[in-house]
């Protein structure tokens, strides 16, 4: 637990320089929060707006990104603190048929934990996404580069300012690579007066990705289908056939289903995946509900189930609170508890602050 004692220990072990750094960090975040509170709502803007980035004149170029700070007290285990993500988005469009997007990230820019002081030793650079789209029409677009693997909703929208919990469901990353590098054909078309979005993709090479993702595909072929059954209801289906770089002796098939329902400020999300092709078939999934409380506070509850290769199936409950004073900014705190979850997702108290900028 993130007890008073461990908090006291945390501040005691910090060097004066680290304390100064930490103070500056919180000052920076406070300024961001203040800016957020003053940000004009409505979602638009031609220059800089918090949560919308900085448009560079009429060049079609826009810079933006997000930052998140996380703290956790897993049990058993030492507490941990990190500036977990500092991501920079760069987008460019020619306002005709080409669109470029990149997300570069400094992960764990600043970390502290247990008996370790504040440090930058774990900082690392990641090329999260880098692709260019050629738009032919609404039905066909071709993407080339590195992109998020379209399995479920969470992986496509995993940024901390967009999620309701600090911790991520095991099912959204454990059985497949979070990124793919290659080609994607994607688009949308009407079905029964509603929109169906689709994607077919092939992971072809790691050469485009000098900062290789954790546990990448060796190669993969996949598809994702998302049907907007109503303005507030989305249903999705995923399939991917792949080989992992770190486990080239097996070829896997993964099938996923997802659903998201929104009503006023209530939300319900679920994702389930099944993978075979290894030593055993594995199911993983979660259901999550979000309910508004007073003002900008929300209550979150989540149940997770995940088969594991060398352990009995794990189960988790996550109970959290989120404070979202303005949409680009969120404070989160949650307690996670489960069975057979010591390795994948340990019990504990977790909290974070995140902002889109």
């Amino acid at each position: 637990m993130w007890s008073l004692l461990s908090q006291a220990q945390f501040f005691t072990i910090l060097s004066p320089t680290a304390k100064l750094l930490l103070a500056r960090l919180f000052l920076f975040l406070s300024v961001l929060a203040l800016s957020a509170a003053r940000a004009e709502s409505g979602g638009d803007g031609s220059s800089y707006q918090l949560g919308r980035g900085l448009a560079v004149g009429d060049t079609g170029i826009r810079f933006g990104g997000y930052a998140s700070v996380e703290a956790g007290a897993p049990s058993p285990g030492p507490w941990e603190f990190s500036v977990s993500d500092l991501s920079l988005f760069t987008t460019w469009t020619d306002h005709a048929h080409w669109r470029f997007f990149s997300e570069t990230e400094v992960g764990e820019a600043l970390t502290a934990g247990g008996n370790q002081g504040l440090s930058t030793r774990n900082a690392h650079f990641e090329l999260e996404r880098l692709y260019i789209d050629r738009l032919f029409d609404d039905l066909f677009s071709l993407r080339f580069g590195k992109f998020l693997t379209p399995v479920g909703r969470w992986n496509l929208l995993h940024a901390s300012p967009l999620t309701w919990t600090t911790t991520r469901p095991v099912a959204t990353y454990d059985l497949f690579s979070k990124h793919a590098t290659g080609l994607m054909l994607h688009g949308g078309f009407p079905v029964l007066d509603r929109r169906m979005d689709y994607a077919f993709y092939a992971d072809l090479t790691e050469e485009l990705d000098p900062y290789r993702s954790a546990d990448p595909f060796n190669n993969a072929l996949g598809s994702h289908w998302l049907y907007s059954a109503a303005d507030n209801l989305e249903l999705g289906l995923s399939y991917v056939n792949y080989q992992l770089h770190d486990d080239p002796s097996h070829r896997f098939n993964l099938v996923g289903v997802e659903g998201a329902w929104f009503y006023r400020r209530f939300e319900f999300n679920t994702e389930w995946v099944y993978r075979n092709g290894g030593l055993q078939g594995l199911y993983q999934g979660f259901v999550q509900g979000v309910a508004p409380l007073v003002s900008h506070w929300y209550a979150i509850g989540r149940y997770e189930y995940f088969d594991q290769v060398q352990q009995p199936a794990g189960q988790l409950g996550v109970f959290g609170l989120a404070f979202r004073p303005v949409p680009p900014l969120v404070w989160k705190v949650e307690y996670r508890i489960g069975t057979h979850n010591e390795i994948s997702a340990p019990d504990g108290l977790y909290g974070s602050f995140a902002v889109l900028f």
């Binding site: 409505g42 980035g53 007066d193």
Partner: protein
């Protein structure tokens, strides 16, 4: 709920006369397009539809979030107010897609749309003149079942 929101919007902005007038979704007068469905308009202004029937990239433009016509348009087309779409735009921003640019007035919309191929905006129907072509009329109050 839609009625309540509309009444609140109109009351708060004291813009009751606006509700009696249709909203015209307009493109340049020389456009090859002739009409548009409400569903397609919804996709265009949510940046889900990127390209028109002739392969040109849509350039949708909005009025400011607080503008009465923007609020009525948002309720009529999306069934929600502009500020309630913030989370949607956050998700799109993470995918590299930004909301439509904002122009300050209906006259600015008319000028921009008239001069920009594939641009699309909306104004009160009485404001639409020879510079633009009306593709869709959104009957702001009538469609929402409100009495004039």
């Amino acid at each position: 709920m839609r009625r309540l929101l509309l009444v609140l919007v109109l009351a708060s902005w004291q813009a009751l006369p606006w509700a009696e007038e249709s909203i015209a979704v307009v493109v340049a007068a020389g456009s090859r397009l002739d009409k548009l469905s409400l569903d397609t308009a919804k996709l265009i202004f949510k940046r889900k539809s990127m390209v028109d029937a002739y392969g040109d990239r849509w350039i949708p433009v909005n009025l400011p979030p607080a503008h009465p016509l923007r609020r009525i348009f948002s309720l009529a087309v999306f069934d929600t107010l502009p500020e309630d779409m913030e989370e949607y735009w956050n998700e799109q921003y993470f995918q590299g897609i930004n909301p439509p640019e904002v122009l300050s007035s209906e006259e600015a919309v008319l000028r921009f749309v008239a001069a920009t191929p594939a641009a699309i905006g909306y104004v009160r129907s009485a404001q639409a003149d020879a510079r633009v072509k009306i593709l869709l009329l959104v009957r702001s109050a009538a469609d929402l079942g409100e009495p004039p």
